[in-house]
Symmetry: C2
């Protein structure tokens, strides 16, 4: 365990300065020094005996919402529409319950656990954690935790999610029913359990039920970014035996593909069908509007707060709870029959 002395040495300041920074007496410490001290604190994993630690026996009335932070390239965290709607609704319910919401971007399990400890938060809701991070977070901080959209298999986890696999299945079936036989898949990598893997599994199952298979050359990797999707549209079109329809695992990808296909002179839905996922606002902004799988993001946020409050009421007894919200197909304008040339 690093000591205050270690931090002071590494930051090149006195122990008193470190103590001042960590105990809120920052009047005579320059912002640059504060930043340096905190950087060292984070890097060494020092857990300060900070102001709030004196409260550790009590409840803090603070709930944390942890969302995915900087990407590995160090780009500042910018919330996506799903996460921001989720945060807005969580804040509203947390406030109604007489609690306060701390917003925290996760860059590592360690720094997140330190933040939870420093403010002795009563509980936390986690967006966007990988399945393998759950146990580490639970081990690092002892409080009720509710995970969102986590598909880890631990029995000791409270999770609120949606029918991702069913959604993928519905997407596949919708395209098959429209007459498509060569159907592509566009989405992020899914080496680990998670929503993308589930949506993919449901989709592949629907294809299999119709005697179809997802050809490797019709699987295109794409992060959940509009620009990335615009770019990979070319890849979809250049595939051997080009697909006549694609399932995009997120609406923002579907919207980017729509633009990329249009630029390439391949109009949707006449020459190419697209089905998305999430039913975010972007699905209705574009033309044609995107046929997609609706998920109830405000309902998910509400459920997350309910589960967390129930756990707080029982704490330190823990009864993990899983809630799975439904999904439904929303018909819009991005799915049509295959072009006549391949029918």
């Amino acid at each position: 365990m690093p000591t205050l002395q270690d931090v002071a040495r590494e930051a090149g300041v006195s122990k008193m300065t470190v103590s001042n920074v960590l105990n809120g007496r920052r009047d005579r410490v320059s912002p640059a020094t504060i930043a340096r001290v905190m950087e060292v604190v984070g890097r060494l994993g020092y857990v300060p005996n900070a102001t709030a630690r004196s409260l550790s026996a009590r409840r803090s009335n603070i709930v944390a919402l942890a969302f995915p932070g900087c990407d590995s390239g160090g780009v500042e965290s910018l919330m996506n529409p799903h996460d921001s709607v989720f945060l807005g609704v969580v804040e509203s319910h947390v406030t109604k319950a007489g609690l306060y919401l701390m917003a925290h971007s996760v860059t590592s399990v360690e720094s997140t656990a330190d933040s939870l400890r420093s403010w002795n938060v009563d509980g936390a809701i986690f967006l966007g954690t990988r399945a393998d991070e759950v146990a580490a977070l639970q081990a690092a901080y002892d409080a009720p935790m509710v995970f969102i959209d986590n598909h880890g298999t631990s029995p000791h986890i409270s999770n609120v999610g949606i029918e991702d696999r069913l959604g993928g299945h519905l997407a596949g079936r919708r395209l098959i029913e429209a007459g498509h036989r060569r159907i592509g898949f566009v989405g992020p990598r899914f080496d680990e359990p998670g929503v993308v893997r589930e949506r993919h599994a449901g989709f592949v199952q629907a294809l299999a039920e119709a005697g179809l298979e997802l050809r490797p050359e019709h699987v295109v990797r794409c992060n959940a970014s509009f620009d990335a999707a615009v770019a990979v549209a070319q890849q979809v079109l250049a595939a051997p035996q080009r697909p006549t329809a694609v399932f995009a695992t997120a609406d923002i990808i579907a919207a980017g593909l729509l633009k990329g296909f249009a630029r390439a002179g391949c109009p949707v839905p006449d020459e190419m069908s697209i089905i998305g996922f999430d039913d975010l606002e972007v699905a209705r902004h574009v033309t044609p509007e995107i046929t997609t799988l609706h998920q109830d993001i405000p309902g998910k946020a509400r459920a997350a707060v309910e589960v967390l409050l129930a756990q707080l009421a029982q704490w330190p007894a823990v009864r993990s709870e899983r809630r799975v919200l439904g999904v439904s197909l929303v018909e819009r304008g991005s799915v049509g029959p295959p072009p006549a040339s391949v029918r």
Copy 2:
């Protein structure tokens, strides 16, 4: 000043229950009772002697970001894209400075001040406050405050904003230079000082410089909502001597108008030009992409944190600081010459 007794009577519970709720001993209090007690506390303006009050002589290391909360119809707060990008960047810089971020939706000046007090926050950044709320907030809580996009005239306010008036002027000039003479304005009401009033003023000035006037029948009120904008597109088209171009005070309005015009068989930019404001992602999602005024939202968030940290370092001395970030025209595809029929 309301007392604990007042709260207990009004909520129909014992003083002990109120005390338990306010001091974090919520194990044996039902969520419904907690909600009721907090509602009464908020309504009566009771300031609890809560857990954290014992820390009041010290810094808390917490910074609040207050954003607009529920609308008057009680709809849950859903952050708009501007606010969520802003929050993401603020969180990242606040964390780098070794501080914590509390996210708080503002429903009233009173409840916000209570929240700041309850956690003894070191300072706060306010999104979306009206000019007349500044003095009330400053009077209600004694800490550094930085306002965003506030156009109030108080000299004792720290504010980070953008060149809204210049942006409106550039928008007007761009449409005039494209050859338009009948130009409409679509945006929210602006009875009070604020960004919409500024953008409108700059726009009207550009028109006046070209010997044009903004006719009252070419001013269409529209909240910053996609659906509202789709609906008011009809109103623009039905106006006497229909405009050939419109300035929308927000990209989300411009995107909705684009769809509304398309549905009415009035293609953009062939029959109608649109210029937006903000340069949010939606401006690039739609087709044609929207010509708009770019503002640097991450830069604004970074500046807000810098100003707040500078004030924290000086506190309790206060030197208010105003920063105004530039705007720039982004050419895309939604502005063209007026249709031949009116040239």
